[in-house]
Symmetry: C2
Subunit: 451 residues, 2 copies
């Protein structure tokens, strides 16, 4: 079958001049940020809606599987082509189509990079709230397909809240323009399995007038997330509430050459935004709650200091990347009140299994990023990692959580779906998927389940 | 076929002791708030999950269509049984199952009345934001099935935002417990066509500490909604922003015996809530914007005055009800920036067609309630009403709006669906519906499309 599909794509490349089958391109687009590799039969780079419809229709007619790809920054293999299928790259679909100040919305093609949209909006006095860590390279189409969140998600919510309408193409090539209701709502977070998103109408918000940024130091990782939960319960409504455990912070410290860090301290990175008076009131509340509970708080008193604190937060991923050969990166999501239990459990489990673990996360929406640094070549250690991941997922589901906050199920988590969904639920999901993609040509081999 | 179904229900009533086929019960449950009547073959009153599963399974096995019914307050005929099918009343599924202060959530059976939940939560210091006008009688299961909003929707959003998980039953009787993601998310707003909701885990919010309530008087209905839109653009974020046109207000005036009202004035009913300092800042902003624009503002300076203003707002529906024999009540929804255009259009159209029209609505989420007072028995006038409704829907869709904000499609609006959705979109919706309800036993003859 693989051979057959490769031949079909080869043939199609003779008819479509934006479809490439060069060996080096097929290799490059066989990977994504997971480091896993699939078999790619060719890559199409449609430059407008007409070309996109054309290539989708041709693939439908010829039975060629289609794998949508934004920037390939995903952490679950959602963009990896399998079985020699065609990668549909959105790189050239990168136009900001329309901005409507009165309606506070912007219309973009799916391949626009998140940061490019922010750069476009800022001088106009607006911003787009979802801010995944990958925002400098990941695309809005990819963000919506994973329903990405980010540090600001506590106050502002995740991608779904901002999608006002979708222009998309069914697997058989029909053009649809709909608000995200009924079947179209399923496309958000569907990882490219249910339809091809071409353009998005997104709500944007006026830039906030003021902000106050601070770092809190709490003894003990579980205590730190418990303190975040306590702050919420006492009426603090920050735009950002990021948790960084002591081991992760020490990595950042080594990377940024900081002194005086130790494993026992964990950190909360807090930003408040709003009107001048709101920020003032919230900052005073935070100060008094920290004082009452004997928590050390460092406030940024200048824009430079604020930038410095953000630099520390942003250094988390690059400093971890230097740490080991293979990063197993799970992004479970839990009710905020269960974070303390989850962090204690994770610490006990990695200690028992002698694994090298770094935890950080977005406390506001209960999203924990659990990173095990290991080496794919060490078979015995990888087995312990697998045991840990199984235990983690079992516990998270028992605590009312989900397998993924924003990275998706893709390839790497599909075998854990049964931890979370009953056979009846999985059967229903399969029937709905078949209703949208009867021939099974959209991202086959990957599985969607998230919202 | 009808006869056959009536016989099957008759037979089933011999086996299920909470299923009634008495003539007077079948007549009572053949109606809903639209005043339309369908043919009801029997009414089941399950009292717990076991009984609910039992009756759904039996209906599935015997091919009996099932019509879920909360309080029957819907305005589009969603709860009306057709073809002699079985009404599944949720009246006895009315328990508040669990309250979790830490997680800020409550678990309820579908038949709990919205107001009962509010009464339960208030002494605990919480509230459930969605507040449809029917809240004193409508049920939470019905609210979620219509994705109801209400006056508070601008600041707090509509029902969907508060659903954390659903316990529901497929048409074939399988029990599902899922967060509202993937297929389960489709049940919200599906008007009972995709699955049977048994229980809901709903997010609740701490009661706000302060509020400020006021009535603004604006010359001209279109100017009033334009002023609401202007207030939003200048940073006002009220919890309530209700529009009431002059003719509707005069009805309220007659009902409540008020003086000095005239048709040319329209009204905005504004409530701000939050912390004391937030409310103070927002109230000052509202005052200065009203002053700048020469808009008369009446503030409630005491709890009694606030209650009086709310009484005026709540009197809108009852005062209209006294007005005519038949109320044709459309609840279109538009982008806030398009409300002015829509109101001008409606005023011109009703004047041209000599119809008696009253408009009010929730400006925050662009939901306009357009009421034509008429008499079903006056055939010629009803034809003009039909022309008006067609023109209204055509214009609303052109302005980027939808046919229903919260009343649903049900029976009364299904023939207008093609105004809004293409054949490909309707086909897709049909396939998804078939994937969830293969035998077509859930609320047949009604159509879901909204979110």
């Amino acid at each position: 079958m693989e051979e057959e599909i490769l031949t079909r794509i080869e043939k199609l490349s003779g008819e479509i001049d934006f479809l490439y089958v060069d060996e080096h391109i097929k290799i490059a687009y066989g990977y994504d940020a997971t480091g896993l590799r699939g078999l790619c039969g060719g890559v199409a780079f449609p430059g407008d809606l007409g070309q996109l419809v054309q290539v989708v229709k041709e693939c439908s007619d010829r039975g060629i599987p289609v794998f949508m790809r934004g920037a390939g920054t995903g952490f679950s293999g959602g963009a990896i082509p399998l079985g020699g299928g065609l990668v549909l790259s959105t790189e050239r679909l990168n136009r900001i189509l329309h901005f409507d100040a009165e309606a506070e919305e912007v219309q973009v093609e799916c391949g626009v990079v998140n940061q490019e949209l922010q750069d476009f909006l800022e001088p106009l006095g607006y911003f787009y709230p979802p801010d995944p860590a990958s925002l400098k390279s990941s695309t809005l189409g990819g963000n919506i397909s994973e329903n990405a969140g980010g540090p600001r998600a506590y106050k502002y919510g995740v991608s779904r809240r901002y999608v006002r309408s979708l222009t998309w193409i069914t697997s058989s090539g029909h053009l649809m323009r709909t608000p995200p209701i009924g079947p179209a709502s399923l496309l958000i977070g569907a990882e490219g399995t249910l339809g091809i998103i071409y353009a998005l109408r997104l709500a944007v918000l006026p830039l906030t007038k003021a902000h106050s940024t601070s770092f809190l130091e709490v003894r003990g990782a579980a205590k730190a997330v418990a303190f975040a939960s306590y702050l919420f319960s006492r009426g603090l409504a920050p735009s950002v509430m990021e948790f960084i455990d002591g081991r992760t912070m020490r990595c950042v410290g080594e990377y940024k050459r900081l002194e005086g860090l130790d494993d026992d301290s964990s950190y909360l990175f807090v930003e408040i935004d709003g009107s001048v008076s709101e920020v003032e009131a919230q900052r005073r509340l935070l100060e008094s709650l920290c004082l009452e509970n004997d928590i050390q708080m460092r406030i940024a008193y200048s824009e430079d200091e604020r930038e410095y604190l953000w630099e520390l937060r942003r250094a988390v991923s690059p400093s971890l990347a230097r740490r080991g050969v293979t990063k197993v990166n799970e992004d479970v999501s839990l009710p905020v009140g269960r974070l303390e239990d989850a962090v204690s459990f994770i610490q006990a489990a990695v200690s028992e299994l002698s694994l090298d673990c770094y935890i950080f996360g977005h406390c506001g929406d209960g999203n924990l990023h659990v990173n095990i640094m290991t080496d794919r070549r060490r078979t015995e250690e990888m087995e312990r990692v697998a045991i840990f991941v199984e235990r983690l997922f079992t516990r998270v589901v028992r605590l009312g959580g989900t397998l993924s906050g924003e990275h998706g199920i893709g390839m790497t988590k599909s075998r854990y779906l049964s931890y979370r969904f009953s056979p009846a639920e999985l059967g229903l999901q399969g029937r709905v998927r078949a209703a949208l993609d009867g021939d099974g040509l959209l991202n086959p081999g990957k599985y969607f389940i998230r919202g």
